[in-house]
Structures are given as structure tokens and as C-alpha cells.
Amino acid sequence: MNAIWLIRSRQLASRLRFWIAIVGYNPRDRSLGHSIYLFYVAIFFSLWGFAVLTLLANFGAGILSILKGAQPETTASMVITVILLGDFILRGYISAKRSPFVFTEDDAGLICQTPVDRRQVAIIWMVSDWLVLALPYAALVVVLCFANIQLIEPGNIQWSHLPGYLLSGLRVTSIVLPIHLAFTSLDNTLGVLRLQGDRDIPSLSLIPIGFAAIFIGLALVYPSGLKLSLLPLQFVIMSGIGEANWLIGFIVGVTFALFGLLMLYMSSPRLNLSRAAHESRFRSILQQVSRPGNLHLNHRMKPREQLGSGHRASRLPGWAGAWSLLWKDWVISLRVVNPRHIGAWLGIFCASLGLMLPLGEGVHLWAFVIWSLFVGQRGTGQLRNDLELWAITRQLPFHARDALLLEIVRPVTGVIFTSWLASGISAWFGYIPDLKVIVMIPTVSLCITLAVGYVILRQAKSTDLLVGQAVDIDAGGVLLGLLIGAVPIGLIAWITSQSNVAWVAWIATVLGFALSSGIAYGMWMISAAQYRKIK
């Protein structure tokens, strides 16, 4: 067996063994009972996965149906095209900045310092990484495909529908995955071109930036030109969804994948593995840390890699006194683009969209729950950060109420504007958002944040804070946040249910706003008192 593949396959097998061990299967146990158990586990997770994908498809169908003026299959193919291209450009940009290949310390010694064939390393590393990267794409396209089927054939899913669903899932993945492989290969090719010899080529990052600029420019200035330029890709994806000839789409997809692999193969004979190993050393440690599920440590370590060694002092104008907390928060937030934070903001945006769009009361309720969770998490993020630096923040000469307010003001403002942005987007779709919701967003955000903050402060102990361990949001905080946020909204819902007259809705909104403002003020005072009392 090829030596490089031998090492890589052992690494992949080791990762797989970790997941197998989680479900309680021991590969060394060769008994019949254990084999039956493996079969059972495989069937169980297949059915579970199918059920989850179908459930998500319900939500996807709701989203596809609200996009007016387009057929669901066209919308689905457009969504897949945009995500594939966006990911292609983003990964391309990252590859042009740092090594797309991640090597461990062992790899650095066993592979990178030896005269192995660089082309084999590039191909094997890319394909093995792609196997993991492709999974969420496979899930996404299957969900969109199922959603499309649900829109074409409405009604409850029955067992007899299962083969049809499975076939359509296979059909779409057989098209999209080769395209994704091609894009990943091309992104890695860009990384390989940067890793030739010892010289860095910073201008390579202009290629993905140029692509992004062209697409955005076309979207803004000449939308039909953008549609035209994306037509070949969209046609191939349409063939996966069942709106065009599958065989042609499959042949095009596989040819494109082979082209991508060929480009990577041809560009990598002079790939500088030592540089790649040096650049990816910290990332390999991060991956090893997060693999057993230690995400907390990973989240703590990851920003260090993004931050690098240093930065020129910020020129942001500062404010004296307690306002300096705001200055500090701004500088910090401008330094690190944390994927976790982006996810939370995206979550707030999507949940707000769920609140604004006419998706039914059930969806609105869930959207509110999810929105509240994200608001509680984001709203108290800076407070938890400051608690982790107790020795600095506790010494600052501020009243606890001022410090608390300034620690949450920036994230809560972010929450309010993100939610309002979602309402703007829903208006763009043609759905005028409920004015009551828009009015209530600021005070309800404050209520939830302060309620979650109160629980965090109540559980905080100085002995833990001194070693940098702030309390995470727990079920109690989530529940209190939800309850506190739901009270004014419940009041509005109750009053408006009594009468359909317009002025009643206005009075309900004013009362709800006043109640939520009062609750927010009360929670602020209680939380500030708790802040002072931390033992």
C-alpha cells in the first residue's frame, strides 16, 4: 500500500473509531451479538437521520414557499448554487492566506520532512478532508430536495414514499458532491500555488476577491447577466433535483471534479510541505482538542490563531470612566471574527425572520424560543468575558449598575438591529412585519439578556472567576429569560385576542412596551445588586 495513504487511512480510521466507540461498538469484539448490535446501530441512525432530514425539509418547504415569484425547484437550485459558490470563494480566500492542508506534529516528521511525492500528499489530504466537508452539503441538498418534493406532492409522508425520497436524495447528492469536490480541489490548488517554495504570493487572495466582486457587481448592476453566468451550474444542479436530464448533469459534474483533481495534481509537484506543516501546526492542535468534544477549550484557543502575534494600537477614540468598557468592547469585537459569534448573529437573524414571516403560530412560537436563546447567549457574551477577567474588571471604579449596562449595551444593540434587519428583509419579500413585534424587540431583548445575566451572576463565585471560569448559560437562565421575555408578549396577545379593533392593538402594544420596560428596569437593578454581591 502507498505509504502516504497508509498513514492517512490510519488517521481516518482512528477518527472513525472514536465515533464508533461513542455508540458503544467495540471493533475487537467479533461475537455475533456484537455484529447484530452494529447492524442495529446502522439501521437506527439511518432511520433517525432520515427522520431528521424530513423534519428539516418541512421547515425548508416553508422557506421555499414564501419566496414569491419563483418555482420551488428553481429556488432550491438557486439556493444550492449560491451556497456552493459562496463557500468556494470563501474557502479559496482562506486557502490563499494559509495552508489548506493540516498536518499534525507526527505528519510533519513522517511526511513533510521526507522526499515523498507531493502530488500524492496533496490529492490524498484533500480527498480525505473533503469526505468530512461534504457531509453538511449532502445533508443540505437532501433537505432542499425533500422540501421540493413536499411542495410538489403535499400531504403526510408514508412508508410507500420512502423509496422515492431515497432515490431523489441519491440523485441530488450524486450531482452536487462531484461539483463540491471540484470546487474544493480548485480551492486547494490555490493554496498549493501559494505554497510553492519559500516565497509567499499575497496577490493570490485577489483571485477569490475578484470572483466575489464580479458576482456581487453583476447582482447589483446586471442581475440577468448573473443568472446567465450561473446557468451552466444551475442546470447541472437542476438535473440533480429532477428538472433536467440526470445523466448529462452527472457526466458534467464528474468531468468537473476530474478537472479540479487534475489541476491540483498538476500544480503540486513543488508543494512546500514544511511550510504547510508550520502554518497548520496550531490548527492541528485545535482539531485534536475539539475531536473528543472539548469545544470549550477549542473556542478559547481558536481566537489566538486568528489574532496572530500582535496589532497596532487601535485609533478608535476612547471615552473616560465607565464608557471605557464600551471602547474596550468595540476594540475586541473588531479584532476577532469568531465563527461561533457569526453563527449566533445568523441564528438571531433567521429566528427574527421566522418571527416576521407568516409561517403560522407554531413556527412563531419556536422562532421566539430560538431567538430568545440566541439573545440570551449573545447579550451576555461580553458580561461573561469580563467576569472571566475578574482581577481586572472588579478593580474598576464603577458602580455595578453602570458596568452591567455597558457590558450588555453593545450586544443588545446588535440584537435589536439584526432583528430589525430581518424585518426589513421580510418586508422586501412582500410581508409587512407586525409593528407590535418591531416595537417590542428592544425592551424584550433587554429583559431576556438581563434575566440570563442575573442567573449567571447569581451562580458566579469569585474563586472560579479568579481562575477565569465564568458560569455558562444553563437551563435556569434559559427558562428565566424565556419567561421574562414571554410575559409582555403574552399580555399583548391576550389583549388583542379580546377585540379586533385597531386601537386595542395599539393600547396592547403600549402596555406591553411599558411592562417590558418596567421588567427590564427591575431586572437591571436586581442583576446589578447581584453583581455587587458576588462572593
Partner: protein, 216 residues
């Protein structure tokens, strides 16, 4: 009447059943340098954490120049500075930005840059001013913790083993600074295992053992 800069009355701290600091009373006046010594686990760090307001005492009161640390917390904190044994920093702020943040927080808008530059140059950290704290060595991190205390106005300085990771030149410079501060009317309480410090700093030694303080 001249207020003592630090006054503890009936101060104690317990962790469950365990009493880390037994009830104690003491006063530190302006110009005094106190070196708190004692074996590991004697309660020195816990006492300093209580005195700095980082840890609430189980019983007793703490006054900084007459201001109660918990009832008049803003006035008391404006007079107090504490350097922990292992300082912690914001990951995303550079050394210089930490000094700017603390200056702003304590309302020092004028002249802080010159003082910060002077300190960083004196202690050989000027070149590292734009580095993030995780890229500093242990000794440099300790120095940054000291600068964060020194950049703001204070009257009472508390330090937990401040010279443990300093190089000999920096330690000498640091001792000179402490003596000057005491001459300017500040009071200093620091923990150390180095008994010669009392001689170097012209201070007094207090001994702590099993949570009990002996100020004689």
C-alpha cells in the same frame, strides 16, 4: 484626622467549614511598606484577594482611606491597586491597549501615554507594546500586570508575589519604584517568601500562618 490607608476590622474568610483567614484587625498607614510572609497555604493570597475586593470576606469590614470597600466601592477602588500573582488579560487587547483601557477607566486622559512609554522603556517592554499578552513571557506578563496597577492613580498598593518572575535588573528597578511610591505617601502591602525584601524596601514583616496574622 489622617485616615489610615488600609484598615481591616474583624476580617475573615471561610470556604465552607475551612477558615482560610481567621478574624483579624490591622491598619496600614501612608508611607508604610509591609511584606507579608508565611508558608504556602497560610492564607496570604486569600487575604489579598479580600483586601482588593476580588473576594468578599465572610465577616468584617475593609476601609481604604476611610472609604468602605463595599459601601463606598467607587471611592475605595479609586484609591486601591492590586497586582495578582498570575495576572490575566484580555486576549484581544495588546499591552499598550490594556494600559489605555485602564487609564480611560480611571479617568486618566492626560499624560498617560508619556507615563506608559516611560514605564515600558524602563522595564524593556517598549518593543513588545503591540504584542498580545499570550505572546509575552511569564515575566513580561507579570510586568504588564504591574504596569496596569502603576498607570492609574492609587494610594494603597497590594501585590501578590510581584518579584517571583522578574529578572534581577527589573527587580532592582521595581524595588526603587516601590520605595519612591512609599516616600510619596502611598502604602504598600506585598506578599513574598524573600525575607531580605524588608531590608531592601525598608519595610516591616508580617507573618501569616494557618490563617492567623502576626503583625509584630
Amino acid at each position: 484626622m489622617v485616615q489610615p490607608l488600609l484598615q481591616a476590622e474583624g476580617l475573615s474568610r471561610s470556604f465552607g467549614e475551612f477558615q482560610a483567614v481567621k478574624p483579624l484587625d490591622f491598619v496600614i498607614n501612608a508611607g508604610e511598606i509591609v511584606i507579608l510572609t508565611g508558608p504556602n497555604g497560610a492564607g496570604k493570597t486569600t487575604l489579598l484577594n479580600c483586601l482588593s475586593g476580588l473576594m468578599r470576606p465572610t465577616t468584617g469590614n475593609i476601609r481604604v482611606e476611610g472609604y468602605d470597600l463595599y459601601r463606598d466601592e467607587v471611592a475605595a477602588k479609586q484609591r486601591l491597586a492590586f497586582v495578582p500573582d498570575v495576572p490575566r488579560f484580555y486576549r484581544e487587547l495588546t499591552s499598550w491597549e490594556h494600559l489605555r483601557f485602564i487609564s480611560l477607566a480611571f479617568g486618566v486622559e492626560q499624560g498617560w501615554e508619556g507615563r506608559a512609554e516611560g514605564m515600558l522603556k524602563e522595564f524593556g517592554m517598549w518593543e513588545s507594546r503591540d504584542l498580545y499578552p499570550h505572546n509575552l513571557s511569564r515575566g513580561m506578563r507579570l510586568k504588564l500586570g504591574i504596569f496596569i496597577a502603576f498607570i492609574r492613580p492609587f494610594k494603597m498598593l497590594l501585590m501578590d508575589e510581584p518579584t517571583s518572575a522578574l529578572d534581577p535588573d527589573s527587580a532592582v528597578l521595581f524595588h526603587e519604584k516601590l520605595i519612591m511610591m512609599a516616600k510619596d505617601g502611598c502604602a504598600i502591602l506585598l506578599t513574598s517568601h524573600d525575607l531580605r525584601l524588608a531590608e531592601v524596601l525598608n519595610g516591616v514583616i508580617w507573618r501569616m500562618e494557618q490563617g492567623q496574622l502576626n503583625t509584630r
